[in-house]
Amino acid sequence: MNKTWWKILGSVLVIYTAIAGLLLGVPHLPILNETIRNLYFHVPMWFAMIVLFSISVFYSIKSLSTKSEIDDIKAVESVNAGIVFGILGLVTGAIWAKYTWGQFWSFDPKQNFAAISILLYFAYLILRNAIDEEQKRAKISAIYNIFAFPMMVVLLFVLPRLKDSLHPGNGGNPGFNSYDLDSRMRMVFYPACLGWILIGYWVYTIRFRLRSLENKQQHN
């Protein structure tokens, strides 16, 4: 992934979805009205977050067996980038909820569980700060990261299905598939997901390179 083509592709896709998402036609539905465009900005944040957290777990597992410092930095920097996307997902969701549900935060199960899963990763970062010794920190935080990941999957994908939620696609509410009868939204939604995942990955690689340069400076 050292080539530049995917960075250009990611930027073009995000610029395209920002323009097309605000200007192209959308189905007109009661209550939702124009807020349906939030689909292009809210949902891709979660996709990018999940991808980044999965990268982090992958490198945590790798760092347990290789014990290399590079894998540890990769794991923590992808969590750092993923948390930003998680917070953006919560914020875009809350703004949308203000106009459709009436409140920024209505203690909907989907909102609560998303917030708790972000807490998990804050706990991971605090655990890292609590340990001074580098190798020990790498090992223990990798273990917590792997231990917490299945719980995050349960929180985000399994539990909201057991509860009544107002969130589209949950608790009997129709998801975007049933609104989008003429496939106009798909033309923007899928590129948006891909674009934001690429941008998220790009942010992570930049953070990783910065951090490893800093480390190199410290060691010299």
């Binding site: 998990l120 706990a123 655990l127 609590a130 340990i131 223990i140 057991l162």
Partner: protein
């Protein structure tokens, strides 16, 4: 069969140590009883059964954090090294988890008895289902907290880390438990609770499996 022998021996050791001092069980028991009493005195005017149910689980959560976190945090470096030489990491983890489950079962049963005694209006109509929730709760609290207390003790900064690390993991379990217990308080038929019971079992199996995979890495220094 080596593993089963080691586990049996280690559980015997834990129970024997506890039996000699009786510190943890009595301490946590007094903690639970005084918390229940404090809650009773502070919320005496509340008549709602569902609030009492939520309160019961919150009391149990804090009691089990205090009880279970002892398992690794209290051991000295020497004790850990000793069991490192004697037994395999899987045996250490399984024995601690089983011992903590037993401890929590005793504790929660006594707490539930005391709770129903203090609040007569609370007594759930479906006591068997409530007890199933209590048993599942004891198991899940001990599986999660045993592993997290091992992580926290290795990080060398006991109490606060324990709470920060374990809360986000235990919240989903706690929500399921409160839901299941609420079904029992409402006296709903059993069919309505199979989802929660199955989900709790799945989460527990998941937690035990990941703990068993990860603990050997944590154990080695």
């Amino acid at each position: 069969m080596q593993l089963a022998k080691e586990v049996k021996y280690l559980i015997h050791k834990e129970v024997l140590l506890e039996w000699r001092s009786k510190y943890t069980i009595n301490g946590v028991l007094l903690y639970v009883v005084s918390t229940i009493f404090t809650c009773y005195l502070s919320f005496v005017s509340l008549g709602d059964k569902l609030t009492w149910n939520a309160l019961f689980w919150i009391i149990m959560l804090f009691a089990s954090i205090n009880g279970v976190s002892k398992s690794f945090l209290q051991e000295t470096k020497g004790q850990q090294l000793y069991s490192y030489i004697l037994a395999s990491p899987a045996a250490v983890l399984i024995s601690k988890t089983v011992y903590n489950t037993l401890l929590m079962l005793v504790l929660t049963t006594i707490a539930l008895g005391f709770y129903t005694l203090v609040f007569d209006s609370f007594t759930p109509p479906d006591l068997v289902m409530y007890y199933v929730a209590v048993v599942l709760g004891s198991i899940s609290f001990s599986t999660v907290f045993t592993m997290v207390s091992a992580i926290a003790s290795k990080a060398g900064n006991g109490g606060m880390l324990m709470a920060i690390l374990s809360f986000p993991i235990i919240i989903p379990v706690l929500i399921l438990l409160i839901k299941l217990a609420k079904n029992a308080v409402d006296g709903l038929p059993w069919e309505n609770s199979y989802d929660e019971i199955a989900m709790l079992l799945v989460v527990n199996v998941l937690m035990v499996a990941t703990s068993l995979l990860l603990f050997p890495y944590l154990w080695r220094d």
